[in-house]
Symmetry: C2
Subunit: 171 residues, 2 copies
DNA sequence: CCGTAACTTCACAATTTTCTGAAAGAAGCG
DNA sequence: CGCTTCTTTCAGAAAATTGTGAAGTTACGG
């Protein structure tokens, strides 16, 4: 019973890929990046080549290229050169991708900037200005907290899955 | 010097509204809900009527209606009946809206469901299945942590802004 | 109860987004 | 060095999204 072999219930896997991608889309990610990411996540290697992605998802090389560019920029995946070949492999960042998801540092920072401008525009003594200020304080708080939370997570992860080589089996 | 009066640097306020809305859009919110929300946030009352929203943002009643429906469903705002009038007011949920933003309970729950299905489809003993399982554990962890974080936030908020009536001046 | 003000729903037009095929651009291998 | 294989870019067709006007619905006030 070779369950990890090539055609291991491809049906069910594809179904999962699409349904997980749909969740990501609903959370704001573009469709193609979401599908590509889900495909990588569900691969045993945690990595696939462009061609493999194109085949599994039935999309053109161009679509793969675009999706991969986005995912690389947002640090959800890494690109690797397969030695001795001009093929490229794309790999889920093991235990870093959901940090990227949660963190969204850049996003939060921009919000904070916008809110600071808001306080300035509205005046810190107006009711609206005070509301902005409190909201701003909230985001600053969240910022700090998330850093600490991720530290705690790493602790628990090691405890649950063993420190040795959890998902970071590679790299 | 009536700074809170009607025409308090409407220019600057509008500029803030649009720029904050743009951030929300970038984070995945639809345009109209984002603009409506930003407008409410920057109003001194923390609440506006449909007509006021339409005027400030230069959009049709239909657009207001759609935006408001979305925002109500996601618990970002509340609707109030103005007594003795058939006008409706929409109010930012004071200190609850960013909880809704951060929480996204529903979203996380759906992700967890999808991931559980993933583990089942892929088999818990495959490498991919193990990766799903770890990801799932992460979300479950985040779930718990966010609850605690919000409790800590309320503590700090009371400390920073005074327990009496911070933003929850109404309701 | 009727008149009317406020809000909602619906179909459509306009815009924007998305994905593809085709062509151009790199980079290993012989 | 040129051939071949893989990836990226680009223009455009197809599809989805968005916001509007207009008709419809609700419910207050008289």
């Amino acid at each position: 019973m070779t369950e990890t072999a090539g055609g291991r219930d491809a049906e069910a896997v594809s179904k999962f890929v699409e349904s997980f991608a749909a969740q990501l889309v609903e959370a704001g990610m573009q469709r193609m990046p979401a599908r590509v990411f889900a495909a990588l996540l569900s691969s045993d290697e945690g990595a696939l080549t462009s061609v493999e992605l194109g085949e599994r998802l039935r999309i053109s090389p161009a679509a793969v290229s675009g999706a991969v560019r986005y995912l690389t920029m947002t640090h959800m995946i890494a690109r690797e050169r397969e030695p001795g070949s001009r093929r490229e492999r794309y790999r889920v960042h093991g235990d870093q991708w959901y940090e990227a998801l949660t963190n969204r540092e850049a996003v939060i920072k921009r919000w904070e900037t916008a809110l600071r401008e808001g306080v300035a525009s509205l005046g810190p003594d107006t009711p609206a200005g005070r509301r902005m200020a409190e909201t701003l304080a909230f985001f600053e708080f969240v910022d700090e907290e998330i850093v600490k939370m991720m530290e705690r997570w790493r602790g628990r992860r090691d405890q649950l899955f063993g420190e040795g080589r959890s998902l970071a089996e590679d790299r």
